[in-house]
Amino acid sequence: MTSKSINKAARKTIFYLFVTTLLVGILLPVYFLVTLSFLSTREAYQFPLPMTPALKTDLKLGYGERGYLLSVWERSEDDYATVLDTNDLDKMRVYIQSILGTKITDEELAEQIARLESSGEEEVFFTQPRNLLYNYETFFRVTRDAVPALMRSIQIALITIVISLVIGGMAGYAFARYLFRGRDALKFSVLFVRMFPGVAIAIPMVLILANMGLYDQPMGLALIYSVGSIGLTVWITASIFLGIPVSMEEAAQVFGATKLQSFVRITLPLAFPGLAAAAMYAFLGAWNETVAAIILTQFNPTFSVVVYQTLLGATGQVNLAAAGGIAMAVPAVFFTFFIRKYINQMWGGMRV
């Protein structure tokens, strides 16, 4: 009896060890990208890279040949490393702020200098908090177009949501409530269009959108993205409306509501969670898409194109690139968790 329960406990332990190892293995790359996005520029170019971002910076001030000697605590070396020898306090402040990613003001620095001078010691030690968001601030400041591109991406996603919910939702309702000739053909066409490569639409769309005056415009991209997300919305909304019994609409009509009223008052509120999921899918599709955006923009790139170009040029610093990647990932991960129940509707459910 006891040996059996010990055996069971051991097996359980091994099982959970296995699960944990698996989880760590899967999430480690994400962890490192997040860490890298918080590292200071100085740390981001060290080898080996620190495995966690520092939350504070230990600094040391002393006297150097040209003025004051600034040293910083090196976690990997377990010692102070001299980084700057200057008389120029502005330069020192900027160095601490940008290269060390650490918060400091002119007054704070002057205060430490005064402390060094008055103490009569060779050196003084002090600690400053890190500015963990420094890479993010810098990414949006120095990357040409990052902020307007972010705005455009959001704008495109919102237009895509509206187009695909209105057009796709109508068709989804028709699929759920009516039997009509051509229903199956249309249902599968919708699926086929969704599977068709977006890049194949984007190339000929260059000319079509140029003729419409929509090339390099958010509206143009939203029109392309809607092609894919309408299909998705049709399937999601069809399954939602199927789940809402017609009898509820009919009951409302018995009490004198018109067909439209019963739809707006009864069906729409019930369908709301599903419609929200469809909207989030449309958002994700537009937000994550890169290839059509590369082809169809020139001076007005989307945010994903800006991050792509940062990575492609490899001109940006690695910690800034990481910050861009995380900025791109956060909304996507956020929305994916809301819609994970509906993920299987992405391709028209299990059985078509």
Binding site: Y45, L312, A332, M350, V352
Partner: protein
């Protein structure tokens, strides 16, 4: 009396029109923004750019492109190897989560994070990880596997073999994709009645015989869905390759489209090349998509609803 009859027939007619009115916007939208560009690209790929007449020359040019066959075969290798690898890994993961152990819902929650990452974010992750001074080597150093000053050049110099580059791309891509295959398989597993598997155990089957003889056969339609959908996205792989290796080091079909359209747009042949590659990719994807519709019963005549 006549009035009532009249209104009844009117209602029936209205009922017939309503669904068509509801689907009309989709149809119009698709005609404008799908049918028209598809026809344009098809016509363009068979049009002589100088004379405006019909020609097969554009495709001849694509086939003679020294990077066409490498791109084709690289794509083919990636599709075959990664779909196989990802399927088995995803199935194992789905079976694990389907055991519904304590904490499995949190586990599921965390495991799908890679799937949620946009392609550029995943690329940022591996680009910063696979450089010689990147986080992967740093991790190996901290674990004591690598010595000081010793670094693995994951992506090699220009002497890196193609097999190695393919292997790295396939593994890195698998990391992103396995959760999405897994989630389809998991949904399928959850639809299998418990009794079926229990019966297998009652009749003396062990875990693997039950898996092989009962679970997998009952999962077959889900497996088809997962594999073909993954196949379609694998044919279109390009971003991770370009962001890890740059253009041209490991050519694949969609990468060629972007290359000709964006990187060397000024060449005489750029547009025809991009169009030609586009049509080829579209044909490959369409074959897979038709196959999907076929196995899911789209072409069988049916009366039953959704």
């Amino acid at each position: 009396m006549v009035n009532v009859l009249h209104s009844k027939s009117f209602k029936r007619r209205q009922k017939k029109i309503v669904p068509y009115l509801l689907i009309l916007p989709v149809v119009i939208y698709y005609i404008f923004f799908w049918v028209r560009p598809v026809i344009n690209v098809l016509v363009g790929s068979f049009t002589d750019i100088n004379t405006g007449g019909f020609t097969l020359g554009n495709f001849a040019m694509v086939f003679q492109d020294p990077t066409f066959w490498p791109a084709f075969w690289n794509t083919a290798i990636i599709v075959v190897v990664s779909v196989t690898l990802e399927f088995f890994a995803a199935l194992a993961l789905a079976l694990l989560i389907n055991r519904k152990f304590w904490g499995s819902s949190y586990f599921l929650f965390l495991v799908i994070i890679p799937m949620a990452l946009p392609a550029v974010a995943a690329a940022a992750m591996w680009q910063t990880g696979l450089t010689p001074h990147g986080w992967l080597n740093s991790l190996l150093f901290h674990l004591g596997i690598l010595d000081e000053g010793q670094k693995i050049f994951w992506l090699g110099g220009y002497d890196a073999t193609k097999a190695r580059l393919l292997a790295i791309i396939i593994l890195v891509d698998a990391w992103t994709v396995i959760p999405s295959v897994m989630i389809i398989l998991l949904a399928g597993l959850q639809n299998i009645p418990k009794e079926a598997e229990e019966a297998g155990y009652v009749f003396g089957g062990n875990y693997f015989t039950v898996l092989r003889k009962i679970t997998i056969p009952m999962l077959s339609s889900t497996i088809q869905t997962a594999v073909i959908l993954r196949l379609i996205s694998a044919i279109q792989i390009w971003l991770i390759i370009v962001l890890l290796l740059g253009f041209g080091r490991l050519p694949v079909l969609v990468e060629r489209i972007v290359y000709y359209h964006e990187e060397v747009p000024g060449l005489d042949i750029s547009y025809q090349m991009a169009t030609g590659y586009t049509v080829i990719v579209s044909i490959l994807v369409s074959i897979a998509a038709f196959f999907y519709l076929y196995v899911s019963g789209a072409f069988k005549h049916r009366e039953d609803a959704v």
